[in-house]
Amino acid sequence: MATQNVNSSSRSSPRRIVVGDFLKPLNSEYGKVAPGWEKTPLMGVTMALFATFLSIILEIYNSSVLLDEISMN
């Protein structure tokens, strides 16, 4: 095999940069979760409401839903 192991003690630690110090808190919570389902039901209800809203405005625009105040012509 062409590979070889090189024991090097001169490998330095990861490089620190100014921007990295500012952003480090944003990449420090890997794997952190909230227990169980948490706010999933809330998110589900919000998604359902948004989907209903989109369906309503689509069907108004498509004239599948007719409102007295809105004429599609």
């Binding site: 921007v19 794997g31 706010k39």
Partner: protein, 388 residues
């Protein structure tokens, strides 16, 4: 032994500097392609090329300095990325950008507007646009992005969703990103195929008629580009996609516009080319047998508004039938051939389907990784195999 060819890009996964590099480089290449070709926009063109160059340099820097402390997780001594957090931040920033684009740039409140071209796509200019759709969509979508981004920034993902959707695995991010692409592609392909321009035209005509102006004035106000897209000869659903032949004199390139024809029967009722469930009042019989609805007995006339035949009226059945086919209004020989609309639809629909497949592929790889790669040896601690 090297990697098989279909896995060579996986080398970016363990090297976050490299991962960042390829994404920035992609941005650089996309930015350099965007080049408004009109000579009077050197500033915008130059800015994009400059941006592209800076992205190129940034990409190289990140490839060289791959081992950054920000990527390193002190707990395990290996690099890691907090993917849900990255998603939250990007969603929030995209929402801000989208909102700003709609509220300021498009409307012209603080910005130039958007590009609006002439009917044949030959020239055009940047101008503020008050089209209800574009600005309001970006404002609404941007607001949604900001609100949802703030929600995701304030809570961590629940454990159930984190495990269920493999939120620690970067391939699920790829899978979801692909969704965005094919969704956009399907939307534009569908709009171009089915069209909604006819509705827009009739809305505008009706609006003008409501102000008690004449039909001629109504049709005068229709921009030529809108009328061009209404032209049914450009509808891929009507003409087939792959007819061969010269586009000049065919339907591919319009030579002129004879005007909008309005067909009336002898009772002065306005007739429309058959589209869907309307009452049939006239047709062209396909057999030699008599038909009560044939153009001649019904007395269909065609009168033109605007265009070269403005004010001209025809009652000869042969001529009326010719113009009813719609193909003739753009001075063509009446044969359907490919058009820009065909190719746009075909191209975007094809890529949308490919990307849909890609979404399923990468999603399945992520969700069913344990099945594809064999059972995780660490799983043995939780499940006793061989019990049954």
């Amino acid at each position: 032994m090297g990697l098989p060819w279909y896995r060579v890009h996986t080398i970016v996964l363990n090297d976050l500097g490299c991962l960042l590099f390829v994404h920035i480089m992609h941005t650089a290449l996309v930015a350099v392609i965007f080049y408004p070709s009109d000579h009077s926009y050197e500033g915008v063109a130059g800015a994009h090329i400059l941006f592209s160059g800076l992205c190129f340099l940034a990409a190289i820097w990140h490839w060289v300095y791959w081992d950054l402390e920000i990527f390193c997780d002190n707990r395990i001594g290996k690099p890691s990325l907090d993917l849900p957090k990255i998603f939250e931040i990007h969603l929030f920033l995209s929402g801000v950008a989208c909102f700003g684009f709609g509220a300021f740039h498009v409307i012209g409140l603080y910005g130039l507007g958007i590009w609006v071209s002439d009917p044949y796509g030959l020239t055009g200019k940047v101008q503020p646009v008050n089209l209800v759709g574009i600005a309001s969509h970006h404002i609404a979508a941007g607001t949604l992005g900001i609100l949802v981004g703030l929600f995701h920034l304030s809570v961590r993902p629940p454990q159930r969703l984190y495990k269920g959707l493999r939120k620690g695995n970067i391939e699920i991010v790829l899978s979801i990103s692909i969704v965005v692409i094919f969704f956009a592609a399907f939307v534009v392909a569908e709009t171009m195929w089915c069209g909604y321009f006819q509705q827009e035209i009739y809305q505008r005509v009706s609006a003008v008629l409501a102000e008690n102006q004449s039909l001629l004035e109504a049709w005068c106000k229709i921009p030529e580009k809108l009328a061009f897209y209404d032209y049914i000869g450009n509808d891929p659903a009507k003409g087939g996609l792959f007819k061969m032949g010269s586009m000049d004199n065919g339907d591919g390139i319009a030579v002129g516009w004879l005007g909008h024809p309005i067909f009336r029967d002898k009772d002065e009722r306005e007739l429309f080319v058959h589209q869907g469930d309307k009452i049939v009042r006239a047709d062209t019989p396909s057999k030699r047998a008599e038909s009560n609805y044939s153009v001649k007995p019904v007395g269909v006339t065609a009168e033109f508004y605007y265009g070269e035949l403005n004010g001209v009226s025809y009652s000869d059945p042969a001529i009326v039938k010719k113009y009813a086919r719609h193909r003739a209004t753009l001075k063509s020989d009446g044969v359907f051939r490919n058009s820009l609309r065909d190719w746009f639809t075909f191209g975007h629909a094809s890529f949308a389907l490919l990307f849909f497949f890609g979404h399923i592929w990468h999603g399945a790889r992520t969700l069913f990784k344990d099945i594809f790669a064999g059972i995780d040896p660490n799983l043995d601690a939780q499940v006793e195999f061989g019990a049954f």
